[in-house]
Amino acid sequence: MIREAQVPMREQDPGSRVHNFSEVPLGYSEEEARQEAGRCLKCKTAPCVRGCPVEVDIPEFIGHVETGDFRAAAATIKRTNNLPAVCGRVCPQEVQCQGVCTLGKKFEPCGIGRLERFVADWELEHGIQSVEPPPPTGRRVAVVGSGPAGLTCAADLRLLGHEVTVFEALHEPGGVLMYGIPEFRLPKAVVAQEVEGLRRLGVGIETNVVVGKTVTVDGLFAEGFEAVFVGSGAGLPRFLGIPGETLIGGYSANEFLTRVNLMRAWQFPEYDTPVRIGSQVAVIGGGNVAMDAARTALRLGAEKVTVLYRRTRTEMPARVEEIHHAQQEGVEMEFLVNPVQLYGSDGVLGEAECLRMELGPPDDSGRRRPVPIAGSEFVINVDTCVVAVGNQPHPLVPRTTPGLEVSRRGTVQADETGSTSRSGVFAGGDIVTGAATVISAMGAGKQAAAAVDRYLGAGG
């Protein structure tokens, strides 16, 4: 008999976890993992593999978990995925591998993400197997940005024997994995360990280099790099453009999360960077970043955290699990509400005036467009307002790379292999697609690595 439901993963209790930044899900034990692995049907068609942007051989690794050969399971995953501990935690498996799982047609799909996380953590705990990179080709490739796209591209290129240097603008590698995703969802030590794995593979990482400022893409070619992969992400925060947004207490989600995650403001004054958190916090937006900001605000000691979203629960882009976790912890959600003005005294935020909305006809995204209801204004008390309505592609690299074609939205134009309008320049991840997921950026990094390799093989 097959278990109908996934083996549950133990979690920190909501009551206690809102007072700490430790990870919420606690992971499977070996026994639990083997039990969950036993639910896999090992179906011949393996739709899960095609559902995975980096095509992990899921049935094979799950088979190894079932027999207790965790090291073999890790080796299987790592053939195509160099950041399994990250993916096992932050991938939207429900719409990828698990979304097409055959078992899922009748019961709950196999817990592929949980198993991936288990295997990755097991390996980190028991010592990472060293992979011997093939003999050097003598070709040099620069990777711009050390987020999911850049790290994946770098690892694949290194495994193909090329010499790779990753350039990161911030002081820690990892991109959004370091500055964006909170500790309680993705411990920074896990990211650091995955990055360490790449270093051991021989990938060079230079932090504190802002490509487009410190050195341009053309400057990298002049330094002897033969190809450049641009994975500089969607790092430019979007604001609402409403009056009062510059009041103290108003943050972009990027600033709020960067202060807390990268700069460790939750450990102020042990760490120097502070963050302001009042008692009433409003988070504007309905995506995963909004959930991260809301849950972070609770942990920083806010009394009441409310997510204001201008559509309804159905249109929320956040993962179901994130919404569930946020609500469990006490985050309140107000739907069909949009702030129109922020008020304060002596420059400090105090109130937000909002409008109620209703859903009109569908817009370009296919979702029903929220339309303001006339005369529905109301005012709420707000000490901290975090704007999480999305990020735009970072303009620095496109702006300083002549001949690199850019769309009207500011994204770099690249085909599915990552090739751009400039010979030798490849791009992938959020800089090409606009803000998307970690795993799709990794998929793009992988495709681009193959394209770079072909380009170099063809004589560059």
């Binding site: 002081h171 802002v210 790092g235 604001f239 960067t258 460790r264 970072h394």
Partner: protein
């Protein structure tokens, strides 16, 4: 890792540092800044470049002990010590036009970032008048360097201990009234730049100021440094740091600069206790 290769005191709590940063030195231009982080627990602070030497691979920074990080740097960081992170050059370079007479005004440690701007303007062919001021003579520095970088130099102190007694805006108003001036540059504390902007506006002369709001990443990612310039919200780190002074919302800048006063005091107190315990 960035070693400090030279440190020279310039005043009671001001010092000049020469720091290894070869990539920054290679592409730096007047008006640009770096963000530095002293150590693992440190905050990221922006500092405008005072000078750079591509052949030595170093940059020069002038730092006054004001907040926690600058005080820590002043008291604990000397030659041979390593600054964990230095990133740059950030921001847009100054728009150097070598025509007409340009007045470069600097207040306090603003003398340091004005120096390369004045030098570039003079090299480009402008007639450069410098006005540098401080509270008292012991807070003035680089008089000789500024003398070289300008055609004329006016020095003021609030207490009259060196040069003319009074504020920098007084000689600025006189010069603007007496001569045809193409542009004013002002770098220093926000209040000083605010009054320079008012003085220049009154005389109908365009003014460029270098804004110093709180920053986190310094690369356009967070928006902590939002300033209002002529009704538009701009990011000082990527759109600036230089803006037309007559269009800046100074009150907003001053308010936002004080956003973390309490936390800054807390961090400074903690640092002082740490130093006391260590020296006991």
């Amino acid at each position: 890792m960035h070693s400090i290769v030279a440190k020279r005191p310039l005043g009671p709590e001001i010092a000049q540092y020469e720091v290894e940063a070869p990539r920054v030195a290679r592409t730096a231009a007047p008006g640009q800044f770096v963000v530095l982080r002293l150590h693992e627990q440190g905050e990221r602070i922006p500092l405008t470049l005072a000078d750079w030497d591509p052949s030595r691979g170093t940059i020069t920074l002038v730092v006054q002990a004001l907040g926690k990080t600058t005080r820590e740097m002043h008291e604990l960081y000397g030659v041979g010590d390593v600054i964990r992170d230095v990133v740059g050059p950030l921001g847009e370079p100054s728009e150097v036009v070598g025509e007409g007479t340009v007045v470069c005004v600097a207040g306090g440690v603003g003398i340091a970032p004005v120096f390369p701007i004045a030098r570039a303007l003079k090299e480009a062919g402008a007639r450069v008048v410098g006005i540098i001021g401080a509270r008292s003579s012991d807070l003035l520095f680089w008089l000789e360097r500024m003398d070289e970088a300008t055609h004329e130099l006016v020095v003021t102190t609030d207490d009259g201990s060196t040069g003319r007694k009074g504020l920098v805006t007084e000689p600025l108003a006189e010069i603007l009234a007496a001569r045809q001036v193409a542009r004013v540059w002002a770098v220093g504390p926000a209040v000083m730049m605010k009054f320079c902007a008012a003085t220049a506006s009154a005389a109908g002369v365009p003014i460029t100021v270098s804004l110093n709001p709180i920053m986190v990443d310094g690369t356009g990612m967070c928006g902590a440094c939002r300033v209002e310039v002529g009704e538009h919200v701009r990011f000082a780190c990527v759109d600036g740091p230089e803006f037309p002074g007559e269009e800046v919302n100074w009150d907003l800048l001053l308010e936002r600069l004080a956003a973390y006063q309490e936390e800054e005091r807390c961090a400074l107190d903690k640092y002082r206790r740490m130093v006391q315990e260590a020296t006991r």
